[in-house]
């Protein structure tokens, strides 16, 4: 496998795309073919199943680059495969079924275990080790977060909390108001598109767009915000260097990018309100404001909560905006950024970095739990 990727990396990019896709589709095609032939009756297919059960694990190990000398591991793989074959042969539900199941499930399952479960456990463990990753230090890394004034830990935690308090509410509120407005205005499609477009622009792009807007210099201003200040007869401000103002200006970037998402989801929810409700309210003489507070809001409340939670989770993990605009200077660092910064210091502060990652993880949990619960209630 290493040899394949290293050969691939020598080719021009445009050749790499079709080759790697073709190779991948061949593997998937082979899996589907094996799934299809696995349960067929007959002695030949029994042998095929045995060959599959033993051969696939051994083959995968060899592809990963297991040394030839490591015979015990190959043997273990073969034994596990053999065990699967025996289980399958004795299965009451027919031959080949378990092997089919293994073929369907194991590629994704292995990647999930290696790529998500194991790193999560590993990071949690690292959070309790020092920067060399060998000595147990208890809660020292977490204590560091709360004690480190200047070096970023505490600042990033406080800032992240401010982000989570402001950005989701602002984006959801703007999305809701806009969804209500476009619902009653002409040219709905185009108007929606204009708010929605930032979703396709990366946060990197959005950050540069706003960095330009916030630009500060002596003489002629080229940033729109400072030009507005000048036109109002005020002195221009170095926005991104004045704390805590700079934080709110960075939060605006996320609000700008996320309001479209809120608008689309909430607009769909508003259109789903049965027309009888507002009609009946109108006949009863309810004003637009009353309709909004007594009918629209309560009806779409679950959707509002889902949108708010989704943007909250996004706010907790912000990285791009800080990386592109201030690189964490002037007290603007957040957990998602500080985590990467601590790791890229020299020497890497892997304990601090892991503790910050764990903190993001812990802060995300209540939001997702609430989301899962309300999903469960709907089902």
């Amino acid at each position: 496998m290493q040899a394949f990727f290293s050969w691939l990396s020598g080719l021009p990019q445009l050749a790499q795309i079709p080759i790697v896709i073709l190779a991948f589709l061949l593997v998937v095609g082979l899996i589907i073919l094996l799934i299809d032939v696995a349960p067929r009756p007959g002695k030949a297919y029994t042998w095929l199943r045995l060959a599959l059960a033993v051969g696939v694990p051994v083959g995968v190990l060899a592809l990963l680059g297991l040394e030839r000398g490591a015979a015990p591991v190959f043997l273990l793989g073969a034994l596990l495969g053999g065990g699967l074959f025996l289980l399958d042969a004795r299965s009451a539900k027919g031959h080949g079924r378990l092997i089919q199941l293994a073929l369907f499930v194991s590629p994704a399952l292995l990647l999930l275990l290696v790529g998500l479960v194991w790193p999560t456990v590993r990071t949690i463990v690292s959070a309790f080790l020092d920067k060399t990753g060998t000595t147990f230090v208890g809660l020292d890394n977490f204590v560091w977060i709360f004690k480190s004034g200047g070096s970023g830990g505490l600042t990033s935690l406080v800032n992240t909390i401010i982000w989570v308090l402001i950005a989701p509410i602002a984006a959801t509120a703007i999305g809701l108001v806009y969804a209500l407005w476009v619902d009653r205005s002409r040219g709905e499609k185009i108007l929606k598109l204009l708010i929605f477009m930032p979703m396709a622009i990366s946060l990197v792009g959005a950050s540069i767009i706003f960095k330009f807007l916030y630009d500060y210099r002596q003489g002629n201003q080229i940033g729109l915000l400072n030009q507005v200040m000048v036109s109002l007869g005020l002195t221009p401000v170095n926005w991104l260097q004045s704390y805590p103002l700079n934080m709110f200006l960075l939060i605006i970037i996320l609000v700008w990018a996320q309001a479209g998402f809120a608008m689309v989801i909430l607009s769909a929810a508003i259109k789903g309100i049965p027309t009888e409700l507002p009609e009946a309210a109108q006949i009863d003489g309810a004003t637009a404001a009353k309709q909004f507070f007594y009918i629209t809001i309560p009806t779409i409340r679950p959707t509002i909560v889902v949108v708010w939670i989704t943007i909250s989770i996004t706010s907790l993990k912000v990285y791009d905006i800080i990386a592109v605009t201030t690189a964490g200077f002037n007290n603007t660092s957040v957990l998602g950024y500080e985590m990467v910064r601590q790791f890229s210091l020299f020497p890497p502060q892997s304990g601090h970095s892991a503790a910050l990652a764990v903190l993001i993880f812990v802060l995300v949990i209540p939001f997702i739990a609430y989301n899962a619960r309300s999903l469960g209630r709907q089902a």
Binding site: Q2, I31, D36, F104, V105, L116, R184, S185, I209
Partner: protein, 310 residues
């Protein structure tokens, strides 16, 4: 021409909609839309102004004294940063994005099919567990994965996986492809499972009675029926990977960097070279914007089906 009942009711609906539309709402929407568009417009206009003008006068003066040039784009296209040109980073973005959008979809389809249509013990637990993995923030994965790719895996003293070549150049884009694939699997499995599970049971039974095995049913029945969801998810994943900075920062270097990474670097190092940043930003957003405009319907449908990745 006769008016069909449907056309008639559509016209009635349109008329009632018109009575509902209010000038105040329209005005409010237009003002907000204008505020939302002006920042992008400013950068877009600037990208066509002569480099000297961008840094000496505001972009709004352009409308009074128009001077247009494509020079910024030409220079940015050929600008060399960390050993590669911006045009090459665009190719890198494409090379990263297309496979990384396809891989998780196929793998998730396989496991989602088994969970939806093969009756085995623990399948609900498996589904909930995969759904719950969406909880893990990307930041939890980066450092262990980096160590895995570079240092390999050693179990009980035996090296099971020696890792990729020491510098990430030797393994090309493998690390980025694999990382994006793995981190996308929970959401992809969730969405595609919902699509596959909604295929009517009679259809599947009929296929089984006709003698089709799971392989055939997967390829000939499940896959085609899931195409709308696949399309929604594919667009979503395409935009997500194309616009990603975090994974790119950790798992690419020099020759492999995508455009987002180069832009982030330039914003730090060449923060005042606005002729580069303005043109570079628009080069970076052209492809996602085209995808977005062309396939908007699928994108919105994906969002409504829960395709949000925090």
């Amino acid at each position: 021409m006769t008016i069909t009942p449907i056309a008639k009711s559509a016209r009635v609906a349109k008329r009632s909609h018109r009575t509902l539309s209010s000038p105040w709402a329209t005005a409010g929407a237009i003002i907000l839309a204008a505020i939302w568009t002006v920042p992008t417009l400013g950068l877009f206009v600037s990208s066509f102004r002569p480099a000297a003008d961008i840094t000496t006068s505001g972009w709004w003066t352009f409308f009074a004294h128009p001077a247009v040039t494509a020079q910024n784009y030409v220079q940015t296209w050929n600008f060399v940063s960390s050993g590669i040109t911006v045009s090459q980073t665009l190719l890198n973005s494409l090379t990263i994005t297309l496979p990384a959008a396809l891989f998780p979809i196929m793998l998730a389809l396989l496991i989602a099919y088994a969970i939806a249509w093969m009756d085995f013990r623990g399948r609900h637990v498996l589904f909930v567990a995969i759904f719950a993995l969406q909880i893990v923030p990307l930041q939890m994965l980066l450092v262990p994965l980096l160590k895995l790719y570079t240092g390999g895996v050693t179990l009980f003293g035996v090296q099971v996986f020696p890792g990729f070549a020491a510098n990430s150049l030797g393994s090309g884009f493998a690390q980025v492809w694999i990382t994006h694939t793995m981190s996308a699997l929970p959401l992809a499995t969730f969405m595609l499972h919902n699509a596959l599970a909604s295929i009517p049971g009679e259809v599947m039974e009929a296929a089984q009675i006709d003698g089709a095995g799971h392989g055939q049913i997967f390829l000939r029945l499940a896959l085609p029926l899931a195409v709308p969801t696949i399309a929604s998810y594919a667009i979503f994943q395409f935009l997500w990977v194309w616009n990603d900075l975090l994974v790119a920062t950790i798992f690419t270097s020099g020759q492999n960097a995508p455009i987002t990474k180069i832009l982030a670097d330039l914003s730090g190092v060449k923060g005042q070279d606005w002729y580069l940043l303005t043109a570079g930003t628009f080069l970076a957003v052209i492809i996602p914007l085209l995808v977005f405009f062309a396939l908007q319907r699928f994108f919105v449908r994906g969002l409504l089906a829960g395709a949000t990745k925090g």
